[in-house]
């Protein structure tokens, strides 16, 4: 019906030309009246009588106008406009309240917007591949060692035999030096099976990907980002040759924007199975696609069965190894989701506190406005009209809070992302969807905290208001809101307290390492450009140059620095055992002579490495206590022989204590060190012990020393030992910092609320207090009475909060270390802090009550 639409448009249009339409109407009605007067005069009435008769014939002037206005436009919009004008006037009249409310809401809404944005980007946004819900991630899981990536033989077996999977791809994360371009760079890449791209269902935007036969191993596929950065999006990049770790490779394709699997990878090369079919070598990240009609559970059951078969067939390597199958999204997001959900819950608590707080403020004001509201009711305003007016005010406040909240989120988001490395968060930005959510959140929050005061005030009967004495018993609403706030504050504070204690316990864990004065520089010398002799000579020379620097006391090099996340797990055998072919595993590192000294690691028994431990000399190794305990229990490990990475037997010559090298919360694992000369790997950390308290000050001279040895070696980064160790704490830091910030906010807002409620009570009960004092109550009695009154909702809130905290801190369990989720010390501290702060807050108003002059108080009656 076109005319309906037409009429709607016109009515809408008339919203904005109110005065013109009204002028036109008045003119028309005036002319109507004149015509009527003419008629009456014609019938013989006098001028005055004619005017009167015309008015009567026309009927109610204003009613006619109102009716026409109703028909002409949307009445409720006009009402809303009126409400908004009125609310604006009121807010301007009490800017303090407006600012307090808007700020509180801005923090609540801002925190929620920022965290929602991250939760959406990391956890909810589907993976950018077709039919993402059919994609799965696969890892192997050992009964006691936990999860690890997949070995090549296991991968191949699953790929070929699993019927519930239409495809299974594998990727091995590597780091490469990109040279032969303007700006050499160290990049993250992946060596992948040729079916990776088809498994994920993404075709290159340019060129092709790897053919199914792995014969062509000299090609590389670039990510869109890398292509833009290094090749200026040039289409002729195909067939260009680049150098990766000194190997020349031909660019055969460019993937579309957003394609990065494994997470953060910028180029792909074909996987050449270097480690061979070693069932002890966990290497591949597995990504598969479910066959049509197959479910995640089908795949899980089938791969479990295959793993059980392998465990029976190859007990030496596959015993106790199961499999863990999850959606590729869960696989990619991993542990971050738990952490984010906790933060989202905490942010929700903050918003709840903010709403309760603003609700309290508005209730107080609405109570103060009882007279005005009663008057309006008496003059005929309907209850719904008054509720609408009050809701308009609160929604306006919360919208303002929402706008300010967007500004808060704008600052909070980068801060949030900088706290930790979250997966899928590279391109997170505030977007229109976030703005929409913020808007909705504001309106909902406004309705939520506006309803209580609106319902309370609109019920005022005219009679009570005219009597003007406040009905004290009706003041339950604000204390109730206060209880909600305090309960939420207790929950947040307990969570933050538990994380803080865990963090503190971890910080003080004995790593066995003393790296306060240690500086490290990371290098990678690819074999293709740096043959064995050259590689060894270069490292030897760099160590010597570093050693000669003024502030340096010791220098050495090692392939795996503690906590650098480069740990290498290798398989070895003990030839003297009855089953000499059994593969065993341990962490492995190559080190130059002097490494243990530079790291202040004492030798418990035997010796460290010496310059004599060259490639020609007999092969030696140093092991740690955990290795000795696990593989040589009750024996003297010195002199034992192992076989590792090659056929040549290796004699154990030294024993070092257990050090925490991988993660603070994991117990020490078996470790094997070998001399660098006998395992000349190209990727090493230069480790320098300085004799200054701020080792980073030696960075400049260290860089210069390295440059003087070889100008072409790219230095990845120079970091202090403590920095490298600190990075492993970063995931914990995110939760800790944010939860602490939230908890502090909650504490402040709640304590302000406690103060506000009691001040308000005191000001309303001045007369009553006056009467009590006139009847002989001492100041002390009044003080105690008021403090008791002020603390009552606090104690109730704390009790509720404790109950909720007991029930809910369990979700924090995986983030805790050394404390239980209901650690009594933490909870007691939280309660104590809240009570102490509340006591301070109630003391001011209570003293004011005690200082009431009975004469003055009674006169105000």
């Amino acid at each position: 019906m076109i005319w309906r639409l037409r009429r709607f448009v016109q009515r809408f249009h008339n919203l904005f030309r109110h005065s013109r339409a009204d002028g036109d109407l008045t003119r028309e009605i005036n002319s109507h009246l004149l015509l009527l007067e003419d008629e009456f005069r014609r019938r013989g009435l006098s001028d005055e009588d004619a005017r009167y008769a015309a008015r009567r014939a026309f009927g109610g002037l204003e009613q006619a106008k109102e009716q026409q206005r109703d028909a002409r436009s949307f009445r409720w919009v006009d009402d809303a406009r009126q409400d908004i004008q009125y609310a604006t006037r009121l807010l301007r009249r009490s800017p303090g309240l407006a600012i307090a409310a808007v700020l509180t809401l801005a923090l609540g809404i801002g925190a929620n917007s920022a965290i929602f944005t991250v939760v959406h980007a990391v956890m909810l946004r589907p993976l950018p591949y077709p039919e993402p819900d059919r994609l799965i991630g696969v890892v192997q899981q050992h009964k006691s060692f936990g999860v690890d990536v997949v070995t090549l033989p296991d991968y191949l077996q699953w790929r070929d035999e699993a019927k519930s999977l239409s495809a299974l791809a594998g990727a091995w994360s590597i780091t490469v030096n990109l040279t032969g371009v303007d700006e050499p760079e160290r990049l993250r890449g992946a060596a992948v099976t040729s079916n990776l791209f088809t498994t994920l269902g993404v075709a290159p935007q340019l060129g092709t990907t790897f053919p199914d036969s792995t014969s062509d191993s000299q090609s590389v596929v670039l990510s869109d980002r890398l292509w833009r950065r290094h090749f200026g999006s040039a289409p002729n990049v195909l067939a260009r040759s680049v150098s990766l770790n000194g190997v020349r490779r031909t660019v055969i394709g460019v993937m579309p924007p957003g394609f990065a699997w494994p997470e953060g990878v910028e180029l792909w090369i074909p996987l050449v199975p270097e480690g061979g079919m070693n069932r002890g070598y966990h290497q591949l990240q597995g990504a598969g696609r479910l066959a049509r009609g197959a479910t995640l559970a089908d795949a899980r059951a089938e791969l479990e069965a295959l793993a059980a078969r392998s465990a029976a067939a190859f007990p030496a390597t596959n015993k106790d190894w199961g499999v863990q199958v999850s959606s590729l999204l869960d696989y990619t997001v991993g542990a971050a989701s738990r952490s984010l959900l906790i933060l989202a819950g905490a942010a929700g608590c903050v918003l709840l506190i903010a709403c309760a707080n603003v609700g309290g403020l508005l209730t107080a004001r609405a109570l103060a406005r009882r007279k005005e509201i009663s008057l309006r009711t008496a003059l005929g305003a309907s209850r719904s009209r008054i509720i609408r007016q009050l809701l308009t005010e609160s929604v306006m406040l919360s919208l303002l809070g929402g706008i300010a909240g967007v500004a808060v989120a704008e600052y909070a988001l980068p801060a949030l992302l900088s706290l930790t490395a979250l997966p899928r968060s590279a391109d997170v930005a505030l977007d229109t969807r976030m703005l929409a959510v913020t808007l909705i959140a504001s309106i909902v929050a406004g309705l939520f905290f506006g309803l209580a005061p609106a319902a309370a005030t609109s019920r005022f009967a005219v009679s009570t208001a005219i009597r003007s004495r406040d009905d004290v018993s009706s003041g339950w609403l604000r204390p109730a809101l206060l209880v909600v706030q305090l309960a939420a504050a207790v929950v947040l504070l307990s969570g933050a307290g538990l994380l803080l204690r865990s963090f503190y316990k971890l910080q003080t864990i004995e790593t066995g390492l003393n790296v306060d004065r240690v500086l490290t520089a990371r290098f990678f010398l690819p074999r293709a450009s740096y043959p064995v002799e050259r590689c060894l000579a270069l490292y030897q020379e760099m160590v010597a140059k570093a050693q000669a620097l003024p502030d340096v006391s010791d220098a050495a090099a090692v392939s795996v620095f503690p906590f650098s996340a480069t740990s290498a797990n290798v398989a070895f055998t003990i030839p003297s055992r009855p089953d000499p072919s059994t593969l065993l595993t341990a962490n492995f590192a190559a080190a130059t002579p002097g490494y243990f000294r530079a790291m202040s690691i004492p030798l418990l028994v035997g010796r460290g490495f010496e310059t004599g431990d060259s490639a020609d000399a007999s092969f030696v190794a140093v092991i740690n206590q955990s290795m000795a305990d696990r593989y040589f229990p009750g024996e003297n490990p010195i002199g034992q022989v192992i076989q590792i990475l090659g056929p040549k037997p290796r004699r154990i010559v030294g024993l070092i204590p257990n050090l925490r090298q991988r993660a603070l919360h994991l117990s020490p694992e078996p470790e094997i060190y070998v001399p660098h000369a006998q395992f000349p790997t190209g990727g090493m950390f230069l480790v320098v012990r300085t004799n200054i308290d701020r080792p980073e000050r030696a960075a400049v001279s260290l860089r210069a020393a390295v440059r003087s040895v070889n100008r072409d070696v790219p230095i990845a980064s120079i970091r202090t030992g403590n920095e490298l160790i600190g990075e492993t704490m970063s995931a914990r830091r995110l939760n800790l910092v944010l939860l602490s910030v939230f908890a502090t906010l909650a504490l402040i807002v709640s304590v302000v609320g406690v103060y506000g409620v009691l001040s308000f009570t005191v000001s309303r009960q001045t007369t009553e207090i006056g009467v009590r004092m006139a009847l002989g109550a001492a100041r002390r009695d009044v003080l105690v009475l008021m403090i008791r009154k002020g603390l009552a909702p606090v104690i109730l809130g704390v009790a509720c909060g404790l109950a909720i905290a007991f029930a809910s801190t369990g979700v924090l369990r995986t983030f805790l270390f050394g404390v239980g989720p209901s650690d009594p010390a933490t909870l007691v501290t939280v309660v104590f802090v809240l009570l102490a702060a509340s006591l301070v807050a109630v003391f001011g108003p209570a003293r004011r009550a005690a200082n009431v002059d009975p004469l003055v108080a009674l006169k105000t009656e």
């Binding site: 076109i2 005319w3 309906r4 037409r6 009429r7 016109q10 009515r11 109407l25 028309e28 009605i29 002319s31 109507h32 004149l34 015509l35 009527l36 003419d38 008629e39 014939a57 026309f58 009927g59 109610g60 002037l61 009613q63 006619a64 106008k65 009716q67 026409q68 109703d70 028909a71 002409r72």
Partner: protein, 116 residues
């Protein structure tokens, strides 16, 4: 007051629109006063209708695009807003009349059956 109220014609919702459309079609362009006089004439009951009540109906019709208005001068040299039926107004009148007659027929039939 009560007696006066009783004598007024209570109009069914929507019937006023139909009556105005019909009056404008038969009389040609008219101003609100002219329409009001005409309605009173038909009702055979002088001033039985508050003339002001016409305005809501007029703005409704105009917004639906069924009538349009222009300011003109009357024979007595007064200015007045004249309303004219548009083409879509004429079509609407046809439809509405038909509907009204169906409805009226139905109501009549029901009333007659009830009384017989």
């Amino acid at each position: 007051m009560a007696s006066e109220d009783d004598s007024r014609v209570e109009l069914l919702q929507g019937t006023l629109d139909l009556i105005i459309l019909r009056a404008l079609t038969t009389m040609g362009p008219q101003h609100a006063y002219g329409l009001a006089s005409r309605l009173e004439q038909i009702a055979d009951h002088p001033f039985s209708l508050n003339q002001g009540t016409l305005y809501a109906a007029l703005v409704r019709l105009e917004q639906s695009g069924w009538i349009k208005s222009t300011w003109q001068t009357t024979e007595n040299n007064r200015e007045a807003k004249y309303y004219t039926v548009t083409k879509s107004g004429a079509r609407a009148l046809e439809k509405q009349t038909e509907r009204w007659q169906r409805l009226a027929g139905l109501v009549n039939k029901l009333l007659l059956e009830e009384s017989s």
